[in-house]
């Protein structure tokens, strides 16, 4: 055993040069973009005048600090996905940021300068409602957390609980908000819908109930959406039914006073629920008496509460967004209003008077491809002359953030939609005119020596011309200041390079925004908002109209047929099993009819565990030819992997130690079906894998891994399937590899047909221990398939491991023989080792990696890799080193 490991180690050392990054290659071919997700809460660090931090808490359960000058991350903390890591509230005080996480499960305090945790405590169970900072005599020392049935007070310094109290009558009263204004009391506000409001006042000192008030409010159902506390503790609520404001003094026991908006001369846009926005710059003091009232989608009012009277300070119409900001003792209101079709203007107003501040206009240009502005975050600061300056962060509907300063300079933008890429594709860039000309020369048949020479000369001339133009452009650009040289998207800079290493990455995001990203630089191209036809390079919508889709589509297939424009044909199968082709020109339909008898496809219904194979008839109807049913009460289908259509296999077989050839079973129609047991008990759970021929439905092989459960990650390529699962018995992750061989002879070496393969393939399988869980897995892909294959494994740590397929080879012998040594087989070792030298992304970790996309380049040795998740990382890998490229130092 020890000997085996030693041997294995020896091999490893011998092969340690399989792949790694050299330090001087850092950032040369790779780039990473880090994202945080859609912003839910944001807060500017105001405790120091020179601070450059903005805190963001996002819907992706990320809490991060950004540099406001550059938009880069200072630090970022990525919590667990799902509801357990959900950020419910963000409260900032000085250098501390308090977060409520996981529906009130945890209370965390972060030190925002270092980005480390101050403390974390577990809260009592119960769903979270609201939280606020509690101050006393201008000192903020506590944080109050309101849950469905309890209210608790915690010290800001260490998180310890000062007191916890059960809320009275919590079965009937729905407590929704907590409020404090620095007078030693905490107010918990609840509502019995359509009946009354209950206000419970607690003493900060010991949690004793000072008083409990119930006030009739039959019109109220939700405090958080319709109420706000204004000025000296006036709970102000909006009732859309009677179109009036109701006010209640929290310090006095009284009735609610009704103020109809009509009496103030105001009108609400029909069908709009008016919204109140107040501001409390210091949690130890009362909120300001000024507040916003939004009366319509494009109308805001700045109102003031003055001795119980509501005064209109200013009417903003049209106004898209409005927000308060405080610098020092001054509070300002920032209002965004439309200027023209392509731009908006933002102005500052004195909150106390409603007067516009001079020289505070900021122009925000709307992105024609982007979404509408959704939120406005204002960073106000005092200038040297004591006037208020400001910068704004605008969040748009497509999750983008833009940070602007006066008079409209965009300091940075972040496309947070890219934090949630659903799928992606890499598209070859087009040839330029000159490149096409050159290619044409080689493509055509020779037509006389003289004309060939002339053609060569003319194309050389064109090249020379292009080179001079390029030099001139370089010279011209060099004289211009750097900021003016814009990355314009033209056919010139988006054309194919010599080895097709630069491609266009087309990414589809969950927010519905589409991105085209240049793989060389990471520059974003354009964004766009069923079936869409567009030009992948420039992002312009194509003039071809997509067909109307009257029926839900079950499956879409890309056929190897091409129409006259070299567009591949897309087959759409609807839920009536009818097939339609796109583009459906006459030429295509004719080709389809000719090919129909050899077009087969399969459909999967995982809810019923049914796999069915169909064949296309010439009239484009379908015919069921096979069906496999996997009983859903025992196991469910979790994934199906076919082979990639653009995969090439270079060698048909493997040369054995005795110089004979073991031929690979290369069935292009093979499907790997992974099932998991429905019984999740650790003794009885299992993972199954079925290899099915997609044309005939023949089950080629079946394997079951007992005492194992998912998530199962599968890679299916060439003649092998690699899958990874969790072994419940040994509590570890295991890899298993299945390889299929025809044997020592090929049945039909020219063409593979699923219908004519009488012999079942030989199946070899081997399993290994993997010392980490994995997030995703993919195999490298190269132009001709000569280069050896690697598995790219995304780890939860953010590393992307490039594991040579050589280690996952079922022919690895347990006992080394002369023949196995001849064949270069590594002796079997149970544990696969993770070497950090094999991380293709060195310390550029990719958080929550969800997918890895591989694409071949024009160089056989090079495979392009994009890993996406919360971050996006693009690089090149050379699984067999750069055998077709001269060394850097040559």
């Amino acid at each position: 055993m020890a000997k085996l490991i030693l041997l294995c180690l020896n091999y490893m050392i011998l092969r340690s040069t399989v792949e790694a990054v050299f330090e001087d290659q850092v950032g040369k071919f790779d780039w990473r973009q880090q994202y945080v997700g859609k912003v839910r809460f944001s807060s500017f660090d105001t405790h120091a005048q020179s601070s450059k931090k903005v805190l963001l808490a996002t819907e992706s359960n990320v809490f991060a600090a950004l540099n406001t000058r550059t938009g880069d991350l200072f630090w970022r903390h990525v919590d667990k996905t799902g509801p357990e890591g959900n950020i419910d509230a963000l409260l900032q005080h000085g250098q501390d940021a308090v977060l409520v996480v996981g529906d009130g499960r945890l209370l965390r305090s972060w030190e925002i300068n270092v980005g480390g945790l101050n403390w974390e405590i577990l809260l009592d169970s119960g769903s979270f409602q609201s939280a606020c900072l509690v101050g006393q005599q201008d000192n903020v020392k506590h944080v109050a957390v309101l849950k469905k049935t309890v209210i608790s007070l915690h010290y800001l310094s260490n998180g310890h609980q000062k007191w916890i109290e059960n809320l009275p009558e919590s079965e009937t009263v729905d407590y929704q908000a907590v409020y404090s204004d620095g007078n030693g009391e905490v107010y918990a506000m609840g509502v019995v819908p359509h009946s009354h409001i209950t206000i419970v006042v607690y003493s900060v000192e010991d949690g004793e109930i000072i008083k409990q008030v119930s006030v009739e409010a039959p019109w109220l159902s939700n405090i958080q959406t319709s109420c706000a506390v204004i000025g000296p503790g006036m709970l102000t609520c909006m009732d859309p039914a009677t179109v009036s404001l109701y006010m209640l003094d929290l310090h006095l026991e009284s009735e609610m006073t009704q103020i109809p908006l009509q009496a103030l001369g105001l009108e609400v846009t029909p069908g709009f629920h008016p919204v109140l926005v107040s501001t409390q710059p210091n949690p130890a003091r009362q909120p300001l008496s000024e507040f916003f009232l939004q009366l319509g989608p494009e109308q805001y009012l700045l109102l003031q509460l003055n001795n119980g009277q509501i005064v209109t300070l200013r009417d903003f119409k049209p106004a898209m967004l409005a927000s308060f900001a405080t610098a020092g003792e001054k509070t300002v209101a920032a209002v965004m209003s439309p200027k023209n079709k392509t731009a908006c203007s933002i102005n500052l107003f004195n909150a106390e008077t409603g007067r516009r501040l001079l020289d505070t206009t900021l122009i925000y240009n709307l992105d024609p491809n982007g979404g509408k502005p959704e939120k406005l975050y204002v960073q106000a600061f005092l200038k040297k002359d004591d006037s208020v300056g400001y910068r704004v962060m605008v969040q748009t509907e497509d999750h983008a953030l833009a940070f602007l300063q006066q008079p409209g300079r965009v300091m940075w933008t972040r496309e947070e939609a890219l934090s949630d890429v659903v799928t992606m594709e890499m598209v070859d860039l087009p040839l330029t005119g000159t490149q096409a000309e050159l290619e044409g020369e080689f493509g055509k048949k020779a037509d006389g020596l003289m004309s060939m020479v002339m053609k060569r000369l003319s194309s050389q001339l064109i090249l020379l011309q292009a080179w001079i133009a390029h030099l001139w452009k370089l010279f011209y650009d060099a004289r211009k200041p750097r900021s003016q040289v814009k990355n314009e998207v033209t056919i010139e800079n988006l054309s194919r390079d010599e080895f097709n290493l630069q491609k266009m990455m087309v990414m589809v995001t969950a927010s519905g925004k589409l991105f085209g990203i240049d793989s060389k630089t990471g520059n974003k191209d354009t964004g766009l908002a069923t079936l869409h036809v567009f030009n992948p390079i420039f992002g312009k919508k194509s003039h071809i109209t997509p067909p109307a889709l009257p029926q839900p589509i079950l499956q879409s297939l890309l056929l190897p047929l091409m129409d006259q424009d070299y567009a591949k044909v897309l087959l759409l199968v609807d839920d009536q099993y009818k097939v339609s082709a796109f583009p459906s020109t006459k030429n295509v339909l004719q080709q389809l009819q000719e090919m129909a008898s050899s077009i087969f496809f399969y459909l999967v219904d995982s809810s019923q565990g049914r796999l069915s194979g169909y064949r296309l008839r010439t009239d484009l109807s379908t015919e069921l030819i096979w069906e496999v049913v996997i009983p859903t009460e025992v196991q469910k289908i979790v994934s199906i992997k076919g082979k990639r259509p653009n995969e090439h296999v270079h060698s048909q077989g493997r040369v054995m130690g005795d110089r004979s050839v073991l031929y690979k079973y290369l069935n292009p129609n093979l499907l790997a079906v992974v099932t998991e047991s429905t019984d999740l008990h650790q003794e009885r759970s299992f993972v199954g894998i079925l290899l099915i021929d997609g044309v005939t439905g023949r089950i080629i092989h079946e394997a079951v891994q007992r005492k194992a459960r998912g998530p199962v990650h599968v890679v299916h390529s060439e003649n092998w399937v690699v899958y990874e699962y969790w072994s419940t018995k040994s509590r570890r992750n295991e890899f298993s590899v299945i390889e299929l061989y025809e044997g020592m002879e090929l049945y039909n070496s020219t063409v593979f047909s699923s219908l004519d393969r009488p012999h079942a393939p030989q199946v070899l399988q081997q399993s290994y221990i993997f010392p980490s869980s994995i997030s995703t897995m993919e195999a490298t892909l190269t132009e001709k398939g000569i280069t050896s294959r690697h598995l790219l494994i995304g780890l939860p740590s953010g590393g992307i491991l490039s594991l040579p397929k050589m280690f996952l080879d079922p022919r690895r012998p347990e006992i080394v023989t002369e023949q196995s040594r001849e064949e270069n087989l590594i002796p079997y070792a149970p544990e696969l080792i993770i070497r950090t030298e094999w991380f293709i992304n060195y310390n550029q970790t990719v958080s929550r990696v969800r997918g890895i996309y591989t694409a071949p380049s024009g160089l056989e040795s090079t495979c392009l890799v994009v890993a996406y998740g919360l971050d996006i990382y693009q690089t090149r890998v050379y699984p067999s080193k750069q055998f077709d490229v001269l060394k850097d130092d040559y």
Partner: protein, 241 residues
Amino acid sequence: MLNTDRAPLLWLLAQAALVSAAWCFTDMETGPGAGVSTQPNGDRFKIEGRAIVPGIKTQDWVSAARVLVEGEEYVGFLRTDGSFAVNDVPSGSYVIEIITPNYRFEPVRVDITSKGKMRARLVNYIKPSEVIRQPYPLQIRASGPQSYFMKRETWGWTDFLMNPMVMMMVLPLLIIVLLPKVVNTNDPEMRKEIEQSMNMLSPNPELPDVSELVTKFFSGSKGSSKAGGSSKGTRPAAKRR
């Protein structure tokens, strides 16, 4: 039967003594970390510890670090002093890893009994039931910076000199230039000695000289009659000098 499934894990599993559930351990010693840490909501526990990177200030690395419990099943963060606590973990056996992009930490397995008794041990995937105790609360020390990069072959003088081609050219040169100076050729005794050694080195007189054979071969058939007898390897080496 063509199906040649192999189960190499079998012998492994056989090796691992079947412990029904490793976290039902029975040793009752009360080490520093064996205290019961109960939490408000019943059977949820807290895994505590501290991570140390020798020689580096904690504030320089904690913001990029995370504590992962069994992949990403539970996530914890590091405090500004490098200590951590992962809250809300039910009883079971977990692998705890400190994840930072720049420093390497060894993973630790922590077992929590249903009563909340904790124990830490080394991770051994091959023998999952083997127990090598580690301190609890965890003390995880970074074993150094992560090494992601391969060393590039650098061009140095030694590499150049040790190159076999260079050696082949330089050594004979040295011999030709230096040897006559070192050895006094005027000394008759020495001369004799050299002569002797040269004789020994000279090819066996019985064997045909290769160069001669080749010249003969190319000079044509006229010399073929003399072949065999013409080999005269009696030329003394001293004369050649």
